[in-house]
């Protein structure tokens, strides 16, 4: 029995430690997106992740150690102390109910605090940073299976490309023309569901220039795997020039054209598209249409186009 126990421990711990080391050593590399917040909201989320794990480890680590210790120490072959009649202790019971209760109270408070800070509808962490400019309004509409970003104040729209200026709060309104999706930009914006016939909200503000990848975190059908969008934080001057560039786009977008766009399409490679002369009420029209029962049925056969060689080398944000 001894050897089998030692063998099992060895078999366990070696690959366990090796793998953990292997994966956690990459903590500093950028691929661990959740460990590298890029704005105040993601910072709060990361901070509370650490706090929660630290508090929980206060209990988990001693328990793990004790389990391992008892397993080793009280093996039958070791002939250690044996107390077959001991099965009750009031003081231990009080501790094992009481200490976790205190921990839950503490974590409960942290939970409340952080929920208020990163509330997608009104993140109080953003209220602290006195934003100089008025927030940038972006309306988000999901279809099967693309992201449409409408800038009502600028009269432009994009597919799968969210461009925002640094240092400015971005206020998002979200609705879906198809099924439920989940708006998420790791390192940048907290998740919020995007639902047909409903309007949700999200907000974020990034202070540094950079490129990020957003996607849907709620399975929405066959084309779901290709539902990424790029998020580009650019300098305010660059943003202004991008806006005027887009306003000169030959493609227009009104509700009738939206209906064409919303038919089930898999945008392999998330190729962006740009529109000018966008109907400022387009978001509301999509929302009301969904309430009236407008749907875009998914056809039985939906071949996914294989990306041509050209698409693989296409210029764009950092997408491997």
């Amino acid at each position: 029995m001894i050897s089998s126990r030692r063998r099992s421990v060895a078999l366990f711990s070696r690959p366990f430690l090796f793998l953990s080391a292997l994966f956690l050593s990459g903590c500093s590399t950028v691929q661990y997106r959740l460990f590298h917040p890029a704005d105040s909201i993601a910072n709060v989320e990361w901070h509370y992740t650490i706090v929660d794990v630290a508090v929980m480890l206060l209990i988990i680590l001693p328990i793990t150690f004790m389990i391992a210790l008892f397993l080793w120490r009280y093996r039958k072959s070791r002939n250690a102390a044996y107390d077959p009649n001991w099965s009750h202790s009031l003081s231990l019971e009080l501790l094992m109910w009481g200490v976790p209760l205190i921990i839950v109270v503490v974590l409960g408070y942290y939970s409340y605090q952080s929920a208020m800070l990163v509330n997608p509808y009104k993140p109080s962490v953003l209220a602290k940073s006195a934003a100089a400019d008025a927030p940038l309004q972006v309306d988000v509409v999901t279809t099967d299976w693309q992201w449409l970003f409408i800038y009502p104040q600028q009269g432009i729209a994009t597919i799968d490309d969210l461009v925002v200026p640094q240092g400015r709060v971005v206020d998002l309104r979200l609705t879906s023309a198809s099924v439920v999706n989940d708006f998420f930009i790791p390192q940048v914006a907290p998740m919020i569901d995007v639902m047909p016939g409903m309007r949700t909200k999200d907000a974020f503000a990034v202070n540094r220039v950079g490129n990020y990848e957003g996607y849907s975190a709620d399975f929405s059908g066959e084309g779901f795997s290709w539902m990424q969008f790029s998020t580009r934080i650019v300098a305010p001057s660059d943003f202004a020039s991008w806006v005027s560039q887009t306003q000169a786009s030959p493609h227009k977008l009104d509700y009738a054209q939206f209906r064409q766009l919303a038919r089930p399409t898999v945008n392999v490679g998330a190729k962006p598209a740009y529109f000018s002369g966008v109907d400022p009420d387009l978001f509301e029209e999509v929302y009301h249409a969904a309430l009236q029962g407008v749907v875009y049925p998914v056809p039985a056969e939906l071949p996914i186009p294989v990306p041509a060689k050209a698409a693989a080398t296409q210029a764009g944000p950092a997408r491997s």
Binding site: L11, M96, Y112, S320
Partner: protein, 698 residues
């Protein structure tokens, strides 16, 4: 009023056409060939050895809780294997489909599974594992062990027990049928609206999923009624509530959860069915529907459901550890209190499955705190197991290894669960593979408990122990696979990989994906050891024979009767004097005291009615799935007719006389559950045991 679904429909065949059979899909063809070969490997020996009559008389029409339990476990293990194959296919697709340059085979753009196939595979993986693998196995274990632990002869309602089994099997058969006729749901095991509505899921897939779960849920609800009535009403004299074995306590609380939560699932699925069949607007986006209603109703069932699964696992651990620590369970009363605290609080946490739906910080915080509160009684259980180990005398048999492994998995699962309970953290990892790794830790802890229970109670049911060496190799390889796969998966969660992806866009994930693939390879190796364990155990069964107490240090009542357990369980109902009755008898040297006399007792007859109801239920489900209205209608009417007919048939059962019992008890070898009728016939006791009386009729 009836919904128009796309595709052809005929009155005779409904939506079923020759095109419904995917004979051009090489993967399905392979699966079909495999199933045919596996089926033949069972059917041919049965025919060759002329066991059809035996199987029908002794197994398919049985009302004996032990045989029903064994069939539940067999069903669960087969479905677990198919679920595991689904898991392998998911892992392989993802490692092959990473990045836009990844190649596509068999018609897929990347990997070898196009999305419409991949989506069915992960949906059936979840559905099979939760509803048709783990639930039947745990139900089967409870079926076999609980009546023995409380000193009863059978369950409170034996025939209803069989009906529950067959309804569960029908659900599983519908999922199997979806593999070869039509397709399965692509909307996940949860099936959130409006993705499951007809415009977005026009094929029969969602209908298969819906009716499979709906029909088997009826079986689960009936089983819950049975288990609660058995535990409350059929305990042996002296089996007071404070003497009940802990596995029975957890089974009781589990089935209270099941009885009260499954109807909500039934409502959620029925309303979805109304949307899909009658054109109602419960969960549509427009026309006054409310898609969030489905999410809420589903998860109000969904969260108690996971405790429905995990509480029996905790009960198993609470039986195995004391036996192999040679100590009573620490803190019995608080263990029971913690069990019911978990069951109660589990009703108040469901929103944590959709923190991101935008309920607001106050609502989110309430459910966050409730979720964390559920961790307190769970922690109490861990402490109680810890202190059971303290100053015990620990033997590391295979069941003990599994139980201890489950303990470690609970720690990791609990830690990650507490992370997910904080909304701010949840907003970064919701629906990512971090969540998948978290709940797989919990589900694997249930699997570990199942393997512990199998090893622990196998000798009780079959009379010989499982081979320890290959059993331990099974444990080591399975655990290694677990570690390799899920450490990589947690890492991927932090890298931002979301779940349910057929194609992965970030090639930086490749090392972790390869690691996961190695992990599933190790799991596959563990399957070999599982098979080897069964083979060696059966081959060497004569060497590993055991007596009533297979382990020598068992504590509860089921170890008082023979191994294997005879069809009548206990020759004479035991009088219970204390908690851990067997340990007390050992301590006072009365464990070997046999009853001084025997008495006649009454047993129920086997009946074909439950099997018949099952077959008709399959017709009902299949007819509804394919919209073959005459088949569904006829099956439903026939079920009602059979039930009414059965209520008129006065089945008196049979009496076993005291003399027969004395002969059986005095025989050299106890009756084996496989050969008992043949054995009884050889001993000339069949007529004595099949003596019908009308006196029992009314």
């Amino acid at each position: 009023m009836f919904v128009h679904v796309p595709g052809p429909w005929s009155p005779l065949f409904g939506r079923l056409t020759l095109d419904s059979i995917p004979y051009t899909n090489p993967i399905i063809l392979f699966a079909f060939a495999f199933s045919v070969v596996a089926g033949l490997m069972i059917v041919v020996p049965v025919l060759y050895y002329r066991k059809v009559g035996y199987l029908f008389r002794e197994w398919l029409t049985t009302v004996d809780h032990k045989k029903i339990g064994i069939m539940y476990i067999l069903l669960g293990l087969v479905m677990m294997f198919r679920g595991f194959v689904d898991g392998m296919m998911i892992r392989t697709q993802q490692v092959m489909a990473d990045g836009p340059k990844s190649l596509g085979y068999l018609g897929a753009a990347h990997g070898y599974l196009p999305p419409e196939h991949f989506d069915q595979i992960y949906s059936s993986h979840g559905t099979l594992m939760i509803i048709f693998a783990v639930t039947p196995i745990l139900t089967g274990l409870g079926n076999i062990i609980v009546p023995l632990q409380i000193g009863a002869r059978d369950m409170a309602f034996p025939m209803m027990n069989a009906v529950s089994l067959w309804l569960t099997a029908v659900g599983a058969m519908l999922v199997m049928a979806s593999l070869f006729i039509g397709d399965f749901s692509t909307a996940g095991w949860v099936g959130l609206a409006p993705l499951t509505e007809v415009p977005f899921s026009p094929s029969v897939g969602v209908d298969y999923w819906l009716w499979a779960i709906q029909i088997s849920s009826i079986g689960t609800t009936l089983n819950a009624i049975n288990m609660i009535a058995t535990i409350v009403g059929m305990r042996a004299p002296g089996m007071r509530w404070d003497r009940l074995p802990i596995f029975t306590w957890t089974t009781l609380s589990t089935n209270i959860i099941g009885l009260t939560s499954f109807p909500i699932l039934g409502v959620a699925l029925a309303l979805l069915g109304a949307d899909r069949y009658l054109g109602t607007h419960f969960f549509t986006a427009g026309m006054g529907g409310d898609l969030m209603l489905y999410t809420n109703l589903f998860w109000i069932w969904g969260h108690p459901e996971v405790y429905f699964l995990v509480l029996p696992a905790f009960g198993i651990i609470s039986e195995v550890i004391p036996t192999f620590a040679e100590k009573p369970l620490f803190g019995y009363i608080t263990m029971v209190a913690a069990t019911f605290a978990i069951a109660g609080i589990s009703w108040t946490v469901w929103l944590h499955h959709f923190f991101t739906m935008g309920a607001g910080p106050y609502v989110n915080t309430f459910f966050s705190v409730a979720t964390m509160l559920v961790g307190i009684p769970t922690g109490v259980k861990v402490f109680n197991w810890l202190f059971t180990l303290y100053r015990g005398r620990l033997t590391f048999t295979a069941p003990m290894l599994w139980a201890v492994g489950a303990l470690f998995l609970l720690l990791i699962g609990g830690l990650t669960g507490m992370m997910l309970a904080i909304p701010a953290v949840n907003y970064t990892v919701h629906n990512s593979v971090f969540v998948i790794a978290h709940f797989h830790c919990m589900v694997l802890l249930i699997a570990y408990s199942i393997f512990a229970a199998t090893g622990y109670w196998f000798p009780k049911v079959f009379g010989f122990r499982l081979d320890e060496r290959s059993g331990k190799m099974f444990f080591y390889t399975f655990s290694l696979g677990t570690a390799v796969l899920f450490i990589a998966m947690f890492a991927l969660g932090f890298m931002g990989e979301t779940r349910r992806l057929d194609y992965l866009y970030d090639t930086q994930w490749m090392p972790a994906l390869v690691t996961e693939e190695i992990g599933i390879g190790i799991y596959t190796l563990s399957c070999y050891y599982f098979a080897k364990m069964l083979y060696v155990s059966i081959r060497d069964r004569a060497k590993n024979r055991v007596g009533a107490d297979a382990w020598g240090t068992s504590r509860t009542l089921e170890w008082l009767t023979h191994s294997p357990v005879p069809f009548y369980n206990f020759a004479v109902t035991p009088q219970v004097n204390t908690r851990d009755e067997l340990s007390w008898r050992y301590a006072n040297n009365v464990a070997g005291v046999r009853p001084s006399r025997f008495e006649d007792f009454h047993m129920p007859n086997n009946t074909v009615v439950p099997l018949l109801i099952g077959i008709l239920a399959f017709g009902f489900g299949f007819g509804l799935v394919w919209r073959i209205w005459w088949m569904a209608g006829f099956s439903l009417l026939a079920i009602i007719a059979v039930v009414i007919y059965r209520s008129f048939a006065r089945d008196p059962g049979y009496i076993v006389s005291a003399e027969t019992l004395a002969k059986l008890e005095g025989a050299d070898e106890p009756l084996s559950i496989i050969t008992e009728t043949q054995h009884l016939a050889e001993l000339g006791m069949i007529t004595e045991t099949r003596h019908l009386t009308e006196a029992e009729a009314h």
